[in-house]
Symmetry: C2
Subunit: 227 residues, 2 copies
C-alpha cells in the first residue's frame, strides 16, 4: 500500500482525517508537532493513544518540536500572557489563538519527511467554513502550498490532501462514527487542563458539532453549554 | 526606517544580501537557522561576526534551531554517513548536499517573525543560475511562496525579496565590494573545518566567482584550485 503522512495534532479533525487516509488504502506515517502550545502534553498523549489504537509502528511515528514558534510569540496558544478568548462563533475576526503562519511550519516538516520516507501524499485535517477563521486554513492556501511543493522538491510528486476542508463539524463527526474513528481519545480544547473547558473557540466548535449531529461527545468537559 | 528581516546563514551570498537591504534603507532584523548541518558552529560564528560588524542590537537577532531536519536526514549536510561530494559545476543533477525542502523551513520562521515584529520584507540570498541546482532556489519557487504568504498570514503584506537570484557569483562579489560588505567574515564551505576545503560545491562556486572577478578571496583555504 502506498505511504501517506498524516498530520495528527490529537484533535478530532486530524483523528477523522487519519481514519479517512486509512480507509483510502494508505499505509500511514503519523507526524505530530509540538510548538510550545499550552496543551502540548495533553495533545501528545492523544497522539500516542491514536497511534496505538491504529497499531502504527514506532518507526512510522515522528514527533518534532518547533518550540521557536513559542519564542516568536504572537498567539494566546503559545504566550501565557495573552488570554485564550471565549468563543465568538459569529465573528469574522482572526482570534487570539492564531499562531502566526503555523501551518507552513507543520507542512514543511511533513514535506521534508515525505521526500525521505517515500510518501507522495500528506493529509492535513484543515477545516475552512466551520472553523476559527485562521488565514492558513483556506483552500486557496493549500493550492498555493502545493505549487510551492511541486517547484521546491526533488521528487515533485508530493501533494497535500485536505479531505475535510469543506465539511462542517457535524459531518466530520458523522464521518468519524461511520469509520469507527476513536473520537473518545481525542483532545481539542485550547486550555491545558484535564477536562476540556467547554467555552474556548475550539470546544465551542466541537460541542456545537456534536449537538447538531445528535451525538454525545465522549470526552469530559468542565461545562457543556449549548451552542 | 521600515523593518526588514534578512536570512543570514553566514555565507557570502547572505552577507551581500544584508548589505543590499541596508543600502535600500531598511532597519535590519537578522535571522539565523541551525538545522544540524556539519558547519553549524562555523556558520553561527560568521553570523555573529556579521551582526556585530553591522551593529545589530541583540533583540534584533534571532537564532533558531530546526534540528529536526537532521533527524529527518536525506542530505550530506546533515547526515555524516553521506559524504559531501566534490564539485561538478557542469552537472544538472541535484547534489547530495540538498536538504529536503529546507528553504521552506527557513522562510516559515522568517514569516512568523515578520508577523510579530512588524516587518513587511524578508530578504534571502538565494542564487539561481550560478548555483548548485537546488529546486528550492528557483525564482518560480519564491513567487509561489509569496502567494502562500499572501493567503496564509493575518497581515497579508509580507513578501520575500531575492535581490541576487539572477546574479552570478562574480557580480555578487563585485556588488559586495562596492557596498563594503565584510566578505572576510563569511563562511561558505560545506565541511566543518577551520579552513575552507576548496573542493566542495560551495567552495568551487565561490572560488570561481572570485577568480572571475579578479579578486583574492580573503578567507583561508586548505587548497585553492583554479575553476
Amino acid at each position: 500500500m502506498p505511504n501517506a503522512i498524516v498530520l495528527v495534532s490529537g484533535g478530532m479533525d486530524s483523528c477523522v482525517t487519519a481514519a479517512m487516509a486509512l480507509d483510502a488504502g494508505h499505509d500511514l506515517l503519523l507526524l505530530h508537532l509540538n510548538y510550545g502550545q499550552r496543551t502540548e502534553r495533553r495533545e501528545l498523549e492523544a497522539f500516542s493513544a491514536l497511534a496505538n489504537h491504529y497499531g502504527i509502528a514506532e518507526d512510522r511515528r515522528l514527533v518534532v518540536s518547533i518550540a521557536h514558534l513559542a519564542a516568536i510569540g504572537g498567539s494566546s496558544l503559545t504566550d501565557s500572557s495573552i488570554p485564550v478568548s471565549a468563543a465568538d462563533l459569529n465573528s469574522q475576526a482572526i482570534p487570539s489563538s492564531y499562531v502566526p503562519f503555523r501551518n507552513a511550519h507543520l507542512l514543511s516538516v511533513a514535506v521534508s519527511w515525505a521526500e525521505v520516507a517515500d510518501a507522495d501524499l500528506i493529509y492535513i485535517g484543515a477545516v475552512f467554513e466551520d472553523s476559527s477563521g485562521y488565514p492558513d486554513c483556506r483552500p486557496a492556501y493549500y493550492a498555493a502550498f502545493n505549487e510551492v511543493i511541486r517547484l521546491g522538491t526533488a521528487k515533485g510528486t508530493i501533494r497535500i490532501e485536505t479531505p475535510i476542508i469543506h465539511m462542517t463539524k457535524e459531518s466530520i463527526i458523522k464521518q468519524g462514527i461511520v469509520l469507527e474513528a476513536p473520537l473518545h481519545l481525542t483532545w481539542s480544547c485550547y486550555q491545558g487542563s484535564d477536562e476540556a473547558c467547554g467555552v474556548c473557540d475550539s470546544c465551542a466548535l466541537r460541542l456545537r458539532g456534536f449537538q447538531l449531529a445528535g451525538v454525545e461527545d465522549p470526552i469530559p468537559y468542565a461545562v457543556r453549554p449549548r451552542y
